[in-house]
């Protein structure tokens, strides 16, 4: 991706001091995004970052583009307005598991079904960070926090499943610590026309440290990261000895030698039916075992913005009477001398 670009990371650093806790996964994501933006051949002023409220949502302040740190949960709606107002902009939504899935769940699913041209990055740390550690809609059941001292009773969402059920055209997952993979996902999301949704597992080292240990720990990660790569069999493990097969009842982890490489699912995010993507999303309900990472689904569907533009163009072509006087004339008038 890094061609002869005009920008460096520094061009995307705003003057404002970054105010996350030392060690927070948000720093890593910020660096990945800034580097990615610098790698693009697109004018800096064409990027807009809209966020809600939460630690993650402080993000726009640190990126030297246009941005709005809005209110809790509403970023997808506000970003929709930006994207529809100017289709030339690249509009990013930064949200958290609380911001995007708790208070903002509705705007999120509606943006997904409408396929507005937005790149939504959901920083999932499975906790409310900014308010100091309450369970979130992605926290595992039974989680003990200050608001759930005996354990949370909530069965969590699986953000990928939810997005797929909400008619998403692009759904991916990545991990803060894996900057290379994050960059790949950003690139894919950037290229997608319509709403791109990336769930980013992000470590909150203060209130939910090591939630993703299984995927980031030196010991564990190899055995648990299932990279989804288009056109390739879904295998993982140290020697790619494990694989995923997909049947009607969903996806399953197998030893490759038990079933043979041919039986292993070849990943294809562009399948018209979301069935396989959905099955893959069910492989792990939160990072408690082998977990798929990558683009689950990427299909084309007209974007809301394009449809809006063409409807307006149509209307203009059909009806040239666009003064207020025309309007009133059509309505009917009379004259008093």
């Amino acid at each position: 991706m890094t061609t002869d670009t005009r920008y460096t990371r520094a061009d995307f650093q705003s003057g404002q001091e970054v105010k996350w806790c030392p060690g927070c996964g948000d720093y890593t994501i910020l660096a990945s995004v800034q580097n990615f933006l610098a790698s693009l051949d697109i004018d800096r002023e064409k990027h807009v970052f809209i966020s809600g409220i939460g630690c993650a949502s402080r993000f726009p302040y640190y990126v030297n583009t246009y941005g709005m740190h809005s209110i809790h949960g509403r970023a997808p709606a506000i970003a929709t307005g930006v994207a529809l107002a100017d289709p030339d902009l690249t509009v990013w939504v930064i949200t958290g598991d609380g911001d995007g899935l708790s208070i903002g769940g509705n705007h999120l699913i509606h943006a997904l079904r409408r396929n507005v041209n937005l790149k939504i990055l959901l920083f999932n740390n499975q906790i409310y960070g900014l308010t100091k550690g309450q369970y979130s809609p992605t926290s595992e059941a039974g989680k003990r926090t200050k608001t759930s001292p005996m354990g949370s009773l909530d069965h969590p969402f699986n953000p990928v499943s939810l997005a797929l059920g909400a008619e998403a055209t692009f759904v991916a997952r990545t991990i803060d610590m894996d900057r290379e993979h994050t960059t790949e996902m950003l690139q894919a999301a950037y290229e997608h026309k319509g709403t791109s949704f990336i769930e980013i597992y992000q470590n909150c080292n203060v209130f939910n440290d090591k939630a993703f240990q299984i995927l980031t720990g030196r010991q564990e990660r190899e055995a648990n990261r299932i990279y989804l790569e288009a056109g390739k069999p879904i295998v993982f493990g140290k020697d790619n000895e494990m694989g995923v097969v997909v049947g009607i009842d969903g996806a399953q982890i197998v030893k490759v030698e038990d079933v043979g490489l041919d039986a292993i699912q070849i990943h294809d995010p562009a399948r018209p039916s979301p069935g396989v993507a959905f099955a893959l999303s069910r492989l792990a309900h939160g990072p408690s075992g082998p977990t798929p990472i990558g683009v689950f689904r990427q299909v084309e569907r007209a974007t809301y913005g394009d449809l809006m533009v063409s409807q307006i163009d149509d209307a203009k072509a059909r009806n040239k009477a666009t003064s207020i006087s025309d309007l009133v004339q059509q309505h009917g008038t009379w004259t008093v001398e």
């Binding site: 404002q16 509403r74 529809l84 207020i324 009379w334």
Partner: protein, 623 residues
């Protein structure tokens, strides 16, 4: 189409005004009959004012009181102010319509009833013990009846419309009869029907035949020997159209966007009685306007805020419950100091309340319904056509001062219609806006929170502008830089600056003109859609020998600069409001004026005589 031969047998009686109310079941098409009558009266040149009133249900059970829908129109040969306190003529399509409307008919008024509907079943449903058309209980009125259903059936027999649909045309029968009685031109009706239902289609034919039958019935029936003539009003010269408040508001927004050279963006979620603004603007895509039906009110204002950030003239429309939901986002719009118009077409609350009825009870919420110190300009149109001007004024203020603005319309004004003398659309005041394109600080720095010295507005630099990249947001902003600031003094200063910006608009709005004498015994202060009734009420009082003055507010925050002086001139101040006294409280707090409220909370507009009576009471009161 030779209806012009159907001239009345006797010369018509001249009247200077008449109030007609069409009332029937929700399914009877009364709104349509009323609107058509209004339009042909408008085309004829009368002044007029209307009051549509309908139930919250799509179609409440047929024949019941709950299901009655009515449409009142006041036509006159002079410049009238209201839709009329009492009806001179009531068209009652069934017993329920008669029962729920009779109390508004003037003594001696005409009741024109559809006798076919006065059968036992319908009488029962309406709760009549005996048939009022025959039991003598209507002896105070002049009652006429017509077998509208029977005659409609006969009339439309050849139209091709079949079965139960036949009766759908009975509103056109009634309309025909009334049109005959008041010498209305028929051509506009025919034209409209052809256009609406398709030239020569069975439905068009049926409606025209039913209309003609009603017209002829009047002409030929003994009982209906009498017709009336209301001459065209001596309105100021000009071109007129007949317009409802929601339509005028929609057009005003479109016009404002044109004047400012911006794209109009409307993000909205349907809610009665605001929905038709969205509907009206949605059909104007050829103007380049963008409309977005959001998933809820919060998203509706959210998308609009996004569009405002991106340089559009952004608007969101709703009614009370929606305003409540938008409060948090309005507060963000205020903190980010972006132009955004929130239109609240008020209805009777609290909660779902009476969703199709009028009330002015959202004033306090508009002024104060946000957390923190969050002042916003608030405006209200005074009549349907004024909604055009007020929409432009809202846009002017929002854009010039970089502030959200709340526009308080209401259900009465939104659906009511009046003739509107058209302004010169080529000569509407331009709205000058300038998007920032250059850094405004030292060393090429851009200060998004630098303020214009006069207006206090910050610059509007829109995404896509090179070199002006910046971030806005809901945390307190440092002056100039717009960076997040927790500095105590900065917060106090910015709080004051936001308040001062709004207060300063007072220097940019016209002084109020008082109607009536400086030394009148009482000043009546009104706002919003009550203008017509209150002015008429004041007129009546003055005609009756009292001395009352009237001032009407279109700007509710800030108030015009001379309001304090005006209030100070009068010992008695009366504020008629369709609430429990909200403006009154604000006036008392601000000016320590001993204003009192005339309150009405019945989901209905004031009658002029209610205002007159209160004036008289106060002036007769020795205290």
């Amino acid at each position: 189409m030779q209806e012009e031969t159907l001239s009345p047998p006797k010369p018509p009686e001249k009247r200077d005004r008449v109030v007609i109310r069409f009332a029937g079941d929700s399914g009877d098409g009364m709104q349509l009959a009323g609107t058509r009558f209004t339009e042909s009266s408008a085309a004829f040149g009368n002044d007029l004012a209307t009051f549509p009133d309908y139930p919250a249900e799509i179609r409440a059970p047929q024949g019941t009181l709950a299901g009655v829908s009515s449409f009142q129109v006041h036509i006159a040969d002079w410049d009238i102010l209201t839709h009329g306190d009492e009806a001179d003529v009531l068209v009652a399509m069934n017993p329920a319509a008669l029962k729920s409307n009779i109390r508004d008919v003037v003594a001696g008024g005409l009741i024109l009833a559809n006798e076919d509907a006065f059968d036992q079943r319908n009488l029962d449903k309406a709760g009549y013990e005996s048939n009022p058309l025959t039991d003598g209980s209507l002896s105070n009125y002049h009652v006429m009846t017509a077998p509208m259903e029977k005659l409609t059936k006969l009339a439309v027999a050849d139209s091709g419309v079949k079965g139960r649909s036949v009766l759908r045309s009975k509103n056109f029968f009634a309309l025909g009869l009334i049109s005959w009685m008041f010498n209305r031109p028929t051509e506009p009706i025919y034209e409209w029907v052809q256009k609406k239902f398709g030239e020569g289609t069975p439905v068009a034919e049926a409606n025209i035949e039913a209309f003609r039958a009603g017209f002829n019935f009047g002409n030929t029936t003994e009982e209906f020997h009498h017709t009336y003539e209301i001459l065209p009003a001596k309105l100021p010269a000009g071109t007129y159209t007949n317009i409802t408040g929601n339509q005028a508001l929609a057009w005003g927004l479109v016009a404002a966007a044109k004047s400012a050279g911006l794209t109009l963006f409307l993000g909205s979620y349907p809610i009665t009685p605001a929905t038709s603004i969205l509907e009206e603007i949605a059909r104007l895509k050829h103007f380049g306007v963008k409309t977005f039906q959001a998933e809820d009110e919060i998203a509706g204002v959210g998308v609009s805020l996004g569009a405002a950030f991106t340089g559009h003239l952004a608007v969101t429309t709703t009614s009370g419950p929606g305003v409540a939901l938008k409060s948090e986002t309005m507060s963000l719009a205020l903190m980010t100091e972006l132009p955004l118009i929130l239109v609240d077409v008020q209805r009777a609350g609290p909660s779902t309340g009476l969703p199709t009825k009028v009330e002015q009870s959202d004033l306090m919420m508009a002024l104060y319904g946000r957390h923190g110190e969050a002042p916003l300009p608030v405006l209200a149109p005074s009549s349907p056509s004024d909604a055009f001007a007020i929409a432009m004024e809202a846009a002017r203020i929002a854009l010039k001062y970089m502030t959200p603005v709340i526009l308080l319309s209401d259900g009465y004004l939104a659906n009511g219609a009046e003739p509107w003398r058209l302004p010169d659309f080529d000569d509407l005041p331009p709205i000058d806006i300038e998007h920032a394109t250059e850094p405004n600080g030292p060393n090429g720095v851009f200060y998004p929170y630098a303020r214009d010295e006069v207006t206090g507005a910050r610059p509007w630099a829109i995404p896509g502008t090179p070199g002006l990249e910046h971030r806005v947001g809901g945390l307190e902003k440092e002056a100039l830089t717009g960076n997040v600031s927790y500095d105590p003094d900065n917060h106090e200063m910015m709080t004051a600056a936001r308040a001062a910006k709004v207060d300063g608009i007072a220097n940019d709005i016209p002084d109020l003109e008082v109607f009536g004498a400086d030394d009148a015994d009482i000043l009546v202060v009104s706002w919003g859609s009550t203008y017509g009734s209150v002015r008429a009420g004041v007129n009546n009082a003055n005609k009756a020998g009292y001395s009352a003055a009237h001032v009407h507010l279109r700007h509710l925050n800030p108030f015009p600069k001379n309001l304090g002086d005006i209030l100070a001139r009068y010992d008695k101040v009366l504020v008629p409001e369709l609430n429990l006294g909200q403006l009154t409280a604000v006036l008392r707090a601000k000016y320590l004026t001993p204003a009192v409220t005339l309150s009405k909370v019945q989901g209905a507009p004031f009658m002029a005589n209610e205002v007159t009576k209160k004036i008289v009471d106060l002036l007769e009161d020795p205290s």
